[in-house]
Assembly symmetry: D2
Homo-oligomer: 137 residues x 4
């Protein structure tokens, strides 16, 4: 497990912590996170907001893509929403499906506690030359 | 302007209000919102989080698609991220590009205060038979 | 194997046969096809055209989604292109990742003869009430 | 009009010519093409194949992105299919919505003779250092 990357993201990804998403594990090219559905995650229909699901997916994308030690920035994401959830814990897993020197693509699945597929996501990052986490001077 | 839809979303979209996004205007098939970048909108690189941009885009999608008076649920979204912002106000505008009885598609652009295109988004909704906002019994 | 669907598509999908794509197998919710790269599949750089790869992916999407016996129409597709090929045989496999009464989503992977991932694709269909293949009157 | 790029693509994009697509105009960052629907463009339902529409969209993407004089390779595309056509002429227009040194994104709309929107497409390219068209040695 890549604890240095995990701790840096936990300490610095403000929007993920604001959204109460917990990073569980970061490995080279993969990551897992969970989100316990809270009232502030809901949309106007009372189900978990698509944007909360995107935030969960995007966190594991960021963790998995930056786990390679170079700064990776999202350039494109596509997401499908399959099922509306009202409560319980959702888990997201990212896996790397292709890595080039400059570009890499990750697939993310979000599942509920019954292991049903709630949403899936595919994201592409641009890999900068800067190291990640940034070195402290 | 469709004030009934606007007020219902403002009162009930919990994740949008948690993310400090302000709905400015809702018309039939279009909507506008803004987000003043706050520290909790940032990612681990100190720029506005892709998921915060998605949340902004998704709110105008929801407002524009539900403005037709029938409950619309997002089924798919694709987003491109063009430019990293650190501060200031971002504005999102959704416009309807196709509407069928069951499906409709919306395009969203997010711009900064200099009117530069920061991200774009395209989302498709499934239109249920239920009315929106739901009638109070 | 669903031979009735396979034969109907082979006989009637004109653009797939024009593109020399061969449907290998159709099962309930999945399908496989192959394309031997020919000169007319190439783009201006001399590698296999992204649109030829899309045609290959779209055929297995159509076969897998129509295998359920109801007419399925593509409404959205997202595709990532990972690697440029110049020759040899490419294989596409579609699998169903979610099926609702009205909507279903399929993931497709295209691989070369070394089993390297060349491109991936995700497509959503709208499921009409009409039967597929259409009944002959 | 960029006639050098237009002629090079017309002479060398084999899959586009196999698909009877005609490039009409190429400018810096934009392009237009048309496709007269022929029997070989149809799918098993007798309407124009989604993959034929993708081929049309992809040609204007290639022309618009390579019009900048550097080799541009598609890395991602998302497409929405709105309306099934059986005959007539379809026109595709690509416009550049963002250009970075390494990446650029284009939006494409396909319309029928009544100017109805049949499909839309958004594609991102990776811009290589090699010139386009390649220099003859």
């Amino acid at each position: 497990m890549n604890n240095q990357i995990k701790e840096f993201i936990e300490d610095n990804d403000r929007f993920a912590s604001h959204s109460a998403i917990k990073l569980l594990e970061v490995n080279r090219g993969s990551a897992t996170a969970e989100m316990e559905i809270k009232p502030f995650h809901l949309n106007a229909s009372g189900t978990v907001h698509g944007a909360a699901l995107f935030t969960l997916a995007d966190l594991v994308l960021a963790a998995a893509s930056n786990s390679r030690g170079r700064l990776a920035l999202s350039i494109q994401a596509s997401m499908n929403f399959f099922q509306a959830e009202r409560e319980g814990k959702l888990t997201a897993m990212a896996e790397e499906i292709k890595k080039h020197p400059r570009l890499a693509t990750y697939r993310v699945e979000i599942r509920n506690e019954k292991d049903e597929l709630i949403a899936d996501f595919e994201g592409t990052v641009y890999r900068k030359k800067e190291k990640f986490p940034p070195e402290i001077k």
